[in-house]
Amino acid sequence: MNLGPHADFIVAAYAVTVFVVAALVAWVVLDYSAQRRILGDLEERGVTRRSQRKDDR
């Protein structure tokens, strides 16, 4: 594939897009594992939400 005389601009555009999309995916994945970890920690300490207590009754 020949990208012509402006190959640098094309490659830069694709590189920037890949970087931003990868950052978004990493943010979503890392945030999910962080929230799961904190929730697990709170539940281990016996903290429950009010709606959970209603369910238990």
Partner: protein
Amino acid sequence: MAVIDLANPTRFLTLVNRMLPWLAAATVLLFAFGLTRAMGAPDDYQQGATVKIMFLHVPAAWLGMMGWGVMSLAALGTLVWRHPLADVAGKSAAPIGAAFTFICLLTGSLWGRPTWGTYWVWDARLTSVLVLFLLYLGVLALYWTAEDPGRGSRAAAVLTLVGAVNIPIIKFSVDWWNTLHQPASILRTGGSAIDPAILWPLLIMAGAFTLLFFTLHFAAMRNEILRRRVRSMRIIQAQELRA
């Protein structure tokens, strides 16, 4: 399951947990297909190979605007019905929409230099998209810095609805003013002005980017629901410690 049941965060989480792997797989497959078609598309007779930047720039521009549309609907849900899931949807869409608008601005700039001879010009289309990006940053600032999340959400919803005025301005800026940016060439009366050999890869890439948007949005909404559970559990924990 009735549609109204999805307004319950727990049921929504169950559905998202089931849907996300399929959505992610469909996104990857459509990107693989779209990129193969995009790389095999012929060069433009005037712009040469730089037309390949269009396969990123145009979907990113559409999704930057669609993100604001999603946020505007969510803002109505927050302000009119005060539904917590609407607020979750709005808050989760903001960083994703901002990222796509950022991609649109950067790829447009990189496309502009070889075709127009400049990275930037203060014409109506470029300026209105920059305003959209700044509005995204404003909404994010309100969501992320408000001490009281409820007040922050309402303020962000109001700013979102006010900022929605900018969306038709972006769309019609090339018709209302003289701009260096080209007029509409896809969604216009009289049909698309783009050759099918370039149009089809563009539409497939737009579909892939749209799937990516919704995959990320649903995943971010799941995270936000969990974050709110963490917050309410910490408040309960603090109250129990005080008692």
